[in-house]
């Protein structure tokens, strides 16, 4: 196809897309005027029924809980898929994985190392805060889980590496991921056993504004936080592991 013909095809496509987009945007309700019945209903019943002030957290874990269960396992499956792919490649390269040899620090820059070291603690606390306050304020398990993951990433940036009780940190993270995913299902099963329906709330809703309000929403947040942190660290850990292994080979 000549460049000229290509430009004609692109021009037709872009013009059609622009026309459809303008048509669609013209039909949107104006900003700030939402008239969906579902949203109005949720905004009015969340605080009286569940005593949780974060309507979004209650919507994801309670009113649309089964949906969130599916989303949980999307991430779980994606992480497992990455693991399978990367481990196969490591076997192909025939590089011995020796956890006993100390890893060389990756960060050469002193300023990067000091900033990363100083940030590890505050970011870890922030992550726990975001997970724990999921039922009260914006945030929750997913956001907090990624913040927790980045605090471990900072440890790596500071030129150090994790050592958790003598075992390989990646094993510990796999356990965290699996515990989170299993915990989510178990809380749901708790609803089936104690309240009659899968994922039905079976914990007293508490008082509005306290840390333990919202029934089982805080528990779901902790499970999701563990799972997200574990899944992302497993993926990052596998990528970094390979990086270190291959680097050693080339030296």
């Amino acid at each position: 196809m000549s460049p000229r013909a290509r430009m004609v095809v692109f021009g037709c496509g872009a013009a059609g897309f622009a026309a459809l987009l303008a048509w669609g945007l013209a039909g949107l309700p104006s900003f700030g005027h939402f008239d969906g019945a579902y949203g109005q209903l949720l905004a009015h019943i969340t605080v009286p029924e569940r005593k949780a002030t974060s309507v979004i957290a209650v919507t994801t874990f309670d009113f649309r809980g089964f949906d969130t269960l599916g989303e949980e396992f999307i991430l779980f499956t994606a992480a497992v898929g990455v693991l399978v792919l990367l481990r196969l490649q490591r076997g192909e390269e025939q590089v011995p994985a020796d956890p006993q040899t100390p890893r060389e620090p990756v960060a050469e820059s002193l300023s990067l190392r000091s900033v990363a070291t100083a940030l590890v603690g505050p970011v870890l606390v922030l992550g726990i805060y975001v997970v724990a306050h999921g039922a009260l304020t914006p945030g929750g398990g997913f956001q907090g889980g990624v913040v927790l993951m980045s605090s471990f990433l900072l440890v790596y940036l500071a030129g150090s590496h994790l050592r958790l009780g003598g075992s390989r940190p990646i094993t510990a993270m796999e356990v965290a991921e699996a515990t989170g995913a299993a915990g989510f299902v178990l809380i749901g099963l708790g609803g089936l056993v104690l309240a009659g329906t899968f994922m039905e709330n079976f914990i007293p809703a508490g008082t509005r504004g306290s840390l333990l309000s919202g029934g089982d929403v805080p528990l779901f947040n902790i499970a999701v936080g563990l799972e997200v942190m574990g899944a992302l660290l497993v993926v990052l850990g596998e990528l970094l592991d390979q990086r270190l292994l291959t680097r050693k080979e080339s030296d």
Partner: protein
């Protein structure tokens, strides 16, 4: 729409253009990170703080980190292939 919202919309439009126009993939990953932050600001001023938090952690931290790691892996493989020749 307030002035803040209009400003952030313009910043996001410029940022998206900057991501497309940067040619070096490693640099592009960093521009993506900044663009992710501006998107988070957009969600925040349009009153979606939950989405803004997710956007900060995924768009500005996790995604660029994964891209950079993947780039490092591809380059190593290219270097290894050159050495074999």
């Amino acid at each position: 729409m307030t002035a803040v919202q209009a400003t952030v919309l313009v910043v996001v439009a410029l940022g998206g253009g900057a991501v497309v126009l940067s040619r070096d993939p490693a640099r592009q990953a960093l521009v993506t990170s900044v663009f992710g932050l501006s998107l988070a600001a957009l969600f925040f001023v349009f009153q979606a703080p939950d989405v803004a938090l997710s956007q900060i952690v995924v768009g500005a931290v996790a995604l660029p980190a994964m891209i950079l790691l993947a780039l490092g892996k591809i380059r190593r493989r290219e270097r290894a292939a050159e050495q074999k020749r």
